[in-house]
C-alpha cells in the first residue's frame, strides 16, 4: 500500500517544491547596471568632494549633475519593485535632503568652502555609504 502511494506522494512533493521555489524569491537578482551605477557615482562623488575646499560657485553645476545622477539611480532601483526594497532604500538615504551627503553639499554652498579636514573625513564616510550599496548588489550574485 505504501509503495503504491509513493509515486503519487512524490509527484505532490515535486509540485510543492516548484511552488516553494517560486515563493522563495525574496530579493532581486544581481543587476550589472545597478553595480555600474553605484561604482560610477562613487567615483564621481569622491572626485567632487575632493574639490570641496574650492569655492562652491565654481562647482555648482557639477553638484547639480551629481544630484541628478543620484536621483536617477534611486528611480531605477525603486522601479524594480518590492524585491529590491533594501537597495532602493539605500539610494533613498543618499538622496534624502536630511541625509549627510546632501547636507555636505548644502554646507559647501552655504559656507562657500569646506574645511580640508572635513573633506578628508567626509570622503571616507561617503565612500563607505556607497560601499554598502555595492556590497549588497554584489551579494545578490552569490
Amino acid at each position: 500500500m505504501r509503495s503504491n502511494l509513493l509515486p503519487r506522494r512524490t509527484s505532490v512533493l515535486v509540485a510543492l517544491l516548484f511552488l516553494a521555489l517560486s515563493a522563495c524569491k525574496l530579493i532581486s537578482d544581481y543587476d550589472a547596471l545597478s553595480y555600474k551605477n553605484a561604482t560610477d557615482l562613487r567615483v564621481e562623488t569622491m572626485a567632487l568632494l575632493e574639490q570641496g575646499t574650492e569655492p562652491y560657485a565654481g562647482h555648482a553645476a557639477e553638484v547639480a549633475a551629481l544630484r541628478l545622477g543620484l536621483a536617477q539611480a534611486y528611480e531605477y532601483e525603486h522601479r524594480k519593485g518590492k524585491l529590491n526594497s533594501d537597495s532602493a532604500a539605500q539610494w533613498a538615504r543618499l538622496n534624502d535632503p536630511a541625509g549627510a551627503l546632501q547636507h555636505t553639499f548644502d554646507t559647501w554652498k552655504s559656507a562657500g568652502k569646506l574645511n580640508e579636514a572635513f573633506v578628508s573625513e567626509a570622503k571616507l564616510k561617503a565612500g563607505e555609504l556607497f560601499d554598502e550599496i555595492i556590497r549588497l548588489e554584489r551579494a545578490k550574485a552569490e
Binding site: R2, S3, L5, L6, R9, T10, L13, V14, L17, A20, L21, C24, K25, L26, I27, D86, S87, A89, Q90, R93, G99, A100, L101, H103, T104, T107, S110, A111, L114, N115, E116, A117, F118, E121, A122, K125, A126, E128, L129, E132, I133, R135, L136, A139, K140, E142
Partner: protein, 107 residues
Amino acid sequence: MPKFDDILDEIKVGIAELGEKSAKDFVEEVRKDGDAFLREIGDDLQRWTELLARKKISAKEFRVLVEFNRDLAQMKALSASGLAKKKVQNLANGIVDLVTKTVLKLV
C-alpha cells in the same frame, strides 16, 4: 523501492545540516560586523571632537560627520536585511536541490 518515511528522514538530516551551517556563518558574520562598527563609532567621534576643538572643522561640519555615521548605520542595516534575505533564498533553493536529488536517488 525505499519507504517514503526513509526519504523524509534523509531529507530532514540534510536540511538540518544545511540550516546549521548557514545560521552559524551568518551569526558569526553579524557579530564581526557589529564589533567593528562599534569600534568605528568611538574612533570617529574622538577624532572629530579633536578636529572641532582645534577649529579644523566647523560645528556644522561636525554635525554632518555625525550624520554620516547615522546614515552608515542605516545603510548597514539595509545591507544586513538584504544579505539575510539572500541567505534564506539560497537556503530554500538548497533545500529544493537536496530534496530533488534525494528523491531521484532513492526512488
